[in-house]
């Protein structure tokens, strides 16, 4: 009995503190190339112009810029929005009606965007021959009605990225024509 309880305690001791980092946490996954392709586009322009156009698109879609470092081509922005999902709320009401216990539902979300540009071809004489790439990543942290984090995830939805890059090419066009 004593031996068993000591063993149990040792295991609690080892597990209880904090979970250790999974070994593959910093290894490239098989999807990383695919994600890179979804999140990256190349543009026939210099890096500075691309960065300025990207900042404008982030503003277009309601992000506030938190951080920027032009020499490295980094812009970070975020916005807070509602995360209420009607289906989830209806489900929660049903559960509450059946069990009498209120279940928390998603309430709001912090959406973060981080955009990095880099030059792939630099031409000091003719700007129009420059080529640069932009890679954007979106993340969101959802909090529920009890104020707890219910979900935190990286957003990998091809449609969202396509829409962003469509807007970015529009923005480049608008800036080039100073509209």
């Amino acid at each position: 009995m004593l031996q068993r309880s000591v063993l149990l305690l040792i295991s609690i001791f080892l597990i209880g503190c904090a979970s250790n980092i999974p070994k593959q946490a910093l290894q490239l996954s098989s999807e990383s190339l695919q994600h890179r392709q979804i999140q990256t586009r190349y543009f026939d322009t210099d890096e500075k112009t691309l960065l300025a156009a990207s900042a404008a698109v982030l503003q277009d879609i309601g992000f506030n810029i938190d951080e920027s470092e032009t020499p490295l081509g980094v812009i970070v922005g975020s916005k807070k929005r509602s995360a209420v999902n009607v289906g989830q709320v209806i489900g929660a009401i049903f559960v509450a009606a059946l069990t009498g216990v209120p279940t928390p539902t998603d309430k709001d979300q912090l959406i973060r965007a981080s955009l990095v540009t880099y030059p792939t071809h630099i031409d000091d004489v003719d700007k129009t021959k420059c080529r640069s790439a932009a890679r954007i990543t979106f993340q969101r942290i959802v909090t529920n009605t009890q104020g707890m984090i219910s979900r935190q995830e990286c957003i990998i939805d091809q449609k969202i990225y396509q829409e962003f890059f469509y807007k970015l090419s529009q923005s480049l066009f608008l800036e080039a024509h100073q509209i």
Binding site: A25, Q27, Q39, E67, L72
Partner: protein, 140 residues
């Protein structure tokens, strides 16, 4: 006998729970030796291009699923967050050593704990050195 073992069990349980959290001790987080930690977290690369090194660090972090939170060329610092079951934060610093080398140092936290295992850092520097087209050398 049964009763006393139950008491010991409870006492140990309390001890196990309490010993985990001397919360102010976390400010200095000094369980590992400084030298050992720096060894695990640092590598030298044969390049003098700080900007290129930082840009490659950013690209590698993005490939690993991090989103970049902050970057500073003058200080040579990049920080990123990785979510999706991870809740991981990492800061990477780049500083020159002599004229021909850059020292890249990474430190990460996973959930509520500092990452002190050598393996995740090894994996990170492996990916970084592939992207740099340079070998990652141990720093003495």
């Amino acid at each position: 006998m049964k009763k006393s073992s139950a008491v010991i069990f409870v006492l140990f349980l309390i001890l196990a729970l309490v010993s985990c959290a001397p919360s102010t001790g976390m400010v200095m987080d000094s369980a590992e030796s400084q030298v050992k930690l720096r060894n695990i977290q640092s590598r030298a690369f044969d390049t003098s291009d700080k900007e290129k090194t930082l840009r490659t660090v950013i690209a590698t972090l993005q490939d690993l699923g991090f989103i970049i939170d902050k970057a500073d060329l003058d200080l040579g610092m990049v920080s990123g967050t990785k979510l999706n079951f991870y809740a991981m934060r990492m800061t990477v610093s780049v500083r020159p050593r002599g004229d021909a080398q850059m020292i890249v140092r990474a430190n990460a936290q996973y959930q509520l704990k500092a990452v002190e295992d050598p393996e995740p850092y090894q994996a990170f520097f492996n990916s970084l050195s592939k992207a740099m087209f340079l070998a990652a050398q141990n720093v003495d």
